[in-house]
């Protein structure tokens, strides 16, 4: 009887091998590769490619095939591209998404197909709270958290009156809600501008001057950031009203501002979860190799895209390369046992990171390049305010 079953092992091995031969995991990465925001998307793409190079293009013994898709900075296009990735390219995991409104339009496409979705930047409140999903993970932050930390900073610095300027879309509203949640002083003015079309703030800056606040809080990602800082300076506000920002000044804008001699940006403050000068092995390798290849510091967008690949890798390894095992992948991702460029982060119960928030200042580095450096820790292991609404 024992002898009779000897054929079974090689037979099973043979039968199983087609699956093993398709030892390739397909990952779709949705980002912005055209329009003025393409420069952010390219930064993410470069970071993903660097991450794959650092892992020898293998996750848990599987070869990685990455398919980049361009959302054109447009929710409808983002949804279409996501549909193509899920239905036509049949990717195993979808990652990426810079923009909250694009992510909100695209999320159901991936989640309804029962696949895992990982946001490498956008962190809209809905997906962190009531609409949280077992297959959705965020590897960056929830939109409200960074401005909440900034509100704390404002309190610590004795700011009593604040003027808020932000774009009128999902992330803009979240950022404003965040700072309003923690800031204890008075908000003397607030303008929500049309996004992304409005890029001239003449009328808003006149209102700021009339309101004469202790500080201005702003959030303008991408190419809007340098334009905002420049007009702030031209309006004569630099030096008069201190500027506090989130996600407005990044490593793409800073070299440009330096070239345009916009000294007003030096010494301004922001809060963030990561900075190029963070002291851990993973970050040192990432920043050094990125700088070597692209001649400037990586952005936080890049750092999160880089993290997203190692996050997936750790989960794929935990299930021994069996990437069809979505439950297993999910369990592994909840542990978040991967080397992050931010040091150690854990996953909250709503699948958003629980992590530290730092105060960063714009400074000149040893080589004379403008960058940001960490000044203090504002929050330790911070849980976003929507996690309690998530029933999962």
């Amino acid at each position: 009887m024992g002898k009779g079953l000897l054929w079974l092992a090689p037979a099973l091995a043979l039968l199983a091998s087609p699956a093993a031969a398709a030892s390739k995991i397909k990952i779709g990465f949705v980002t912005t590769l055209t329009t003025g925001a393409a420069v952010i998307g390219n930064d993410q793409k470069n970071a993903v490619e660097l991450a794959l190079k650092h892992m020898g293009n293998r996750m848990g013994g599987l070869e990685v095939e990455i398919i980049f898709a361009d959302d054109e900075f447009n929710p409808q296009k983002g949804k279409q591209k996501t549909e193509k990735l899920v239905k036509k390219d049949k990717v195993d995991i979808v990652a990426g998404y810079i923009w909250s409104h694009v992510l909100m339009a695209s999320a159901s496409t991936v989640l309804d197909a029962g696949k895992i979705l990982i946001s490498a930047n956008a962190g809209p409140s809905a997906l962190a709270g009531k609409k949280c999903n077992k297959n959705f993970f965020n590897i960056s932050w929830q939109n409200d958290q960074t401005p909440m930390a900034l509100g704390e900073v404002l309190n610590q610095r004795g700011i009593k009156t604040l003027y808020i300027l932000a774009p009128n879309y999902a992330a803009g509203k979240n950022m404003v809600a965040g700072v309003e949640r923690t800031f204890k002083g008075k908000i003397v003015g607030k303008d929500m501008t049309k996004w992304p079309t409005q890029i001239d703030w003449a009328s808003e800056f006149t209102k700021v001057k009339a309101a004469n606040p202790d500080a201005v809080f702003t959030f303008y990602p991408g190419k809007h950031g340098p334009a905002f800082i420049k007009q702030y300076q031209q309006a004569g506000l630099t030096g008069k009203v201190p500027l506090y920002s989130v996600y407005t000044i990044d490593s793409i804008g800073l070299p440009r501002m330096q070239k345009a001699k916009m000294k007003g940006v030096l010494g301004t403050f922001m809060t963030q979860t990561w900075a190029p000068d963070m002291d851990n092995a993973q970050n040192k390798r990432f920043v050094a190799d990125f700088k070597k290849k692209h001649g400037r510091y990586p952005t936080f967008y890049a750092s999160q895209a880089y993290d997203s690949m190692f996050f997936i890798k750790a989960a794929v390894e935990a299930v021994g390369g069996d990437y069809g095992n979505v439950t297993g992948l999910r369990k592994a991702m909840e542990k978040a046992d991967f080397p992050s460029v931010r040091g150690k982060i854990t996953m909250g119960k709503n699948h958003f990171p629980v992590q530290n928030f730092y105060l960063r200042e714009v400074v000149e580095d040893a080589d004379g390049n403008w960058t940001t450096a960490i000044r203090s820790t504002v929050y330790e292991n911070h849980v976003d305010p929507y996690a309690k609404d998530c029933k999962m």
Partner: protein, 307 residues
């Protein structure tokens, strides 16, 4: 709220109006005289910004950059007319819309191929990069005052040209009856090329003036083009005077809406509703204006005399 604030907001609105005029002037001439719906007019605005930024980098001077970019964009406009647009005059407006929309995509991609993806920034000379005291407590960015001055000079020059010169006479005649002008022996082809080049130069100039404020980026033209179309519809197609007045009206209404509407709404609505309605309503104001003008005066406020 005091009158200093009001004065500064008035200047802001006026400056936006002047900028819109530079773009709308060419757009209205091309549509009025050549009967061509040119969606790619915003691309000329964008090209102007990139030309000026490039020349400014080479010469290390913003003023020289603009002076070199002006003939360059004039030439580019004329080449575009001869190569791409000439065949479209006989086609329907829908064909023109499709073809010039294609040109937008072409130019946006071209700009991304030739120049850095994140666009170009022009540093302003120190004497322009700040704010000046205008007296009585009103301070205003120096550079924006320059934009207003340049725009007014261009408007005056354009008025003199249209009203006093032979070319202007032909342009006026072309706006009212194209066929007749051709029948009287005027070389319409040449006139069209020149008018298009002129329009391109004006749009380009607007782009050059805005580049130090906004940076030159791919796709910057589409944002302003919609407003320019609103302007020419309100002003009357083919009318430079109409374009000027409508530009100033649109600039002022848009700015005043952004400045005062939220305050007014707060007086009648609860905070949450006012905060939601303010930005939405202020971005609708000019379209409401356009709809009312279309309802009461379908030809626009200052229609070009048509025969």
């Amino acid at each position: 709220m005091n009158w200093i604030f009001l004065a500064e907001q008035f200047l802001n609105g006026f400056q936006l109006g002047i900028l819109l005029f530079l773009i709308a002037a060419g757009l209205t001439l091309v549509l009025g005289i050549m009967d061509l719906v040119n969606l790619a007019h915003g691309s000329l605005y964008m090209l102007g910004a990139f030309f000026a930024a490039t020349f400014a980098q080479w010469t290390d001077s913003f003023v020289l950059g603009v002076l070199l970019a002006l003939p360059a964009i004039l030439a580019a406009g004329m080449v575009i007319e001869v190569v791409a647009l000439r065949t479209l005059y006989a086609r329907s407006h829908l064909d023109q819309v499709l073809a010039t929309f294609g040109l937008i995509l072409f130019f946006n991609s071209l700009v991304q191929l030739v120049w850095p993806l994140d666009g170009l920034t022009i540093p302003l000379p120190a004497y322009l990069d700040g704010a000046v005291e205008l007296g009585l407590g009103v301070t205003y960015p120096t550079y924006r005052i320059l934009i207003i001055a340049v725009g007014l000079l261009v408007a005056l020059g354009l008025y003199l040209m249209v009203a006093k010169t032979r070319l202007g006479m032909l342009i006026r005649a072309g706006a009212s009856n194209r066929v007749m002008v051709g029948a009287l022996g005027v070389d319409i082809k040449w006139l069209f090329t020149l008018v298009f080049g002129l329009g391109a130069m004006l749009a380009g100039l607007a782009g050059m003036m805005m580049a130090p404020i906004l940076s030159a980026t791919s796709g910057m033209g589409e944002q302003i083009l919609i407003l320019a179309f609103v302007v020419i519809v309100i002003g009357g197609i083919g009318s430079v005077r109409g374009a000027f007045i409508a530009s100033i009206i649109v600039g002022l209404i848009d700015t005043m809406g952004r400045s005062f509407l939220d305050v007014l709404l707060l007086a009648v609505l609860p905070v949450n509703a006012a905060e939601a309605a303010g930005p939405a309503l202020s971005s609708m104001l000019i379209y409401i204006l356009m709809a009312s003008v279309l309802f009461f005066k379908p030809q626009g406020l200052f229609p070009a005399q048509s025969g």
